[in-house]
Amino acid sequence: MSSSGASAEEKREAELLGELLAVVQSVVDPEIPVLTIADLGVLRGVEVDGAGRVTVTITPTYSGCPAMQTITDDILLALAAAGYADAAVQTALAPAWTTDWMSEEGRRKLADYGIAPPSGAAPATGASGASGARGASGADDADAGPVPVPVALSVRCPQCRSADTREVSRFGSTACKSLWTCRSCLEPFDHFKVI
């Protein structure tokens, strides 16, 4: 009897979590409204305690991302509208966000929206010793000759699909994007930077 009670309890909890997740996952990025925070990989977790208090964990894309406050407010509003007013949003910095966390669905939606999705995987960094070695190797390369120039994969134009594109500026309309132009259709476009 007690075991069936526990399993019913577990089932209710799983249902509740599923419902909460559906609500939170529907919140969109205020600057790229075709992407949900789940597509972006900004949503890191949803938990609920015994008293029914909901805690949502998000992580910023960039340190200075001005969308974080709006995303926090939007999550709380969405939860309140679904009947969960007792909620809090916390920010986790580690592990640091990477474009590798962007879903396939998110990449497709970005391209349809006219923003070239991140091209390729982020270079390996992290808290391991490798990161320190990377800095040292950069300096050593300079010692050996010319300044190292990072080689990036070509970025496809989201309008005409041409690979004949050119980076105009590493810094675009938001911190997470760079500015490109297409040599084929001559249209400018944003590219989601790989980090």
Partner: protein, 258 residues
């Protein structure tokens, strides 16, 4: 760590976070002044984006400094309500924007240092500092690259751009020495695995910057006069003007929010 050690260590962590936060905050404020003043739209956006990254880093570090010291001061209290002598940023970051070459030289000297700092700080024994560094390192990589590309373009450009870029590097060179100075506060944190030994980053910084200067046909200035004091709150003349502009709104309208 034994209990008697903990109090001074905690206060040192707060001091260290505040120093790194002040560096980022003050440079962010300087860069924000380029908004609508860039020579083209792309550059206007680039410099202010870099400023925004730095502001984000500053917010995390100032918030952490306030939390570690006991939680009575918020990021806003620390940014807007401290006096000049309470700011502990490097003299380098407070130097005026000058012409575009001066801003780029400041970016090159600082971001080469900051990138190496974040790379090393990722393995700090302090989890929050390591997490901040883990985020910031990706941003600093772009900042340094931006400064390198412009240094090459201006240094190896026209006679006028070469002259200005050389003058800019010459003017800012005296402030480099302070960046790599380690005082007792940091020495104790280095021993505890919390802080990065700044002096140990100098050889790598020298190699990288020397390589960029050489490729840009610029001459590395002679080492000579080395002003310092930023970490002790002793600042250069222009800093007070920066603070008055940055703090004016908050002080005139206490508690104002968006």
């Amino acid at each position: 760590m034994s209990a008697p050690d903990r109090a001074p260590m905690t206060s040192a962590v707060s001091t260290y976070a505040l120093r790194l936060g002040d560096d980022a905050l003050v440079l962010a404020q300087r860069l924000s002044a380029w908004s609508s003043r860039g020579h083209d739209l792309e550059e206007d956006i680039a410099l202010t984006n870099i400023g925004l990254d730095l502001l984000g880093q500053a917010r995390m570090l100032l918030t952490y400094a306030g939390t570690v010291e006991g939680g009575s001061r918020t990021e806003d209290d620390l940014a807007y309500l401290r006096e000049e002598r309470d700011f502990t940023n490097l003299l380098l970051v407070e130097q005026p924007n000058g012409d575009f070459a001066r801003t780029i030289a400041r970016q090159l000297l600082f971001s080469t240092w900051q990138l190496a700092l974040w790379e090393a700080l990722q393995s700090s024994a302090d989890e929050t500092l390591a997490a901040v560094a883990g985020k910031a390192v990706k941003e600093a990589d772009y900042h340094r690259d931006h400064a390198v590309q412009w240094t090459l373009r201006l240094g190896d450009g026209t006679d006028e751009s070469h002259h200005r870029m050389q003058a800019a590097v010459d003017a800012l060179w005296p402030y480099v020495d302070e960046v790599f100075t380690v005082d007792d506060v940091e020495q104790a944190l280095v021993a505890g695995g919390v802080a990065v030994d700044a002096a140990s980053l100098r050889p790598g910084w020298d190699r990288f910057v020397d390589g960029v200067l050489a490729e840009a046909t610029l001459t590395r200035p002679e080492d000579g006069w080395n002003p310092s004091g930023g970490r002790r709150g002793m600042h250069t003349e222009s800093f007070g003007y920066l603070l008055s502009e940055m703090q004016h709104l908050h002080r005139s309208h206490p508690g104002a929010t968006w």
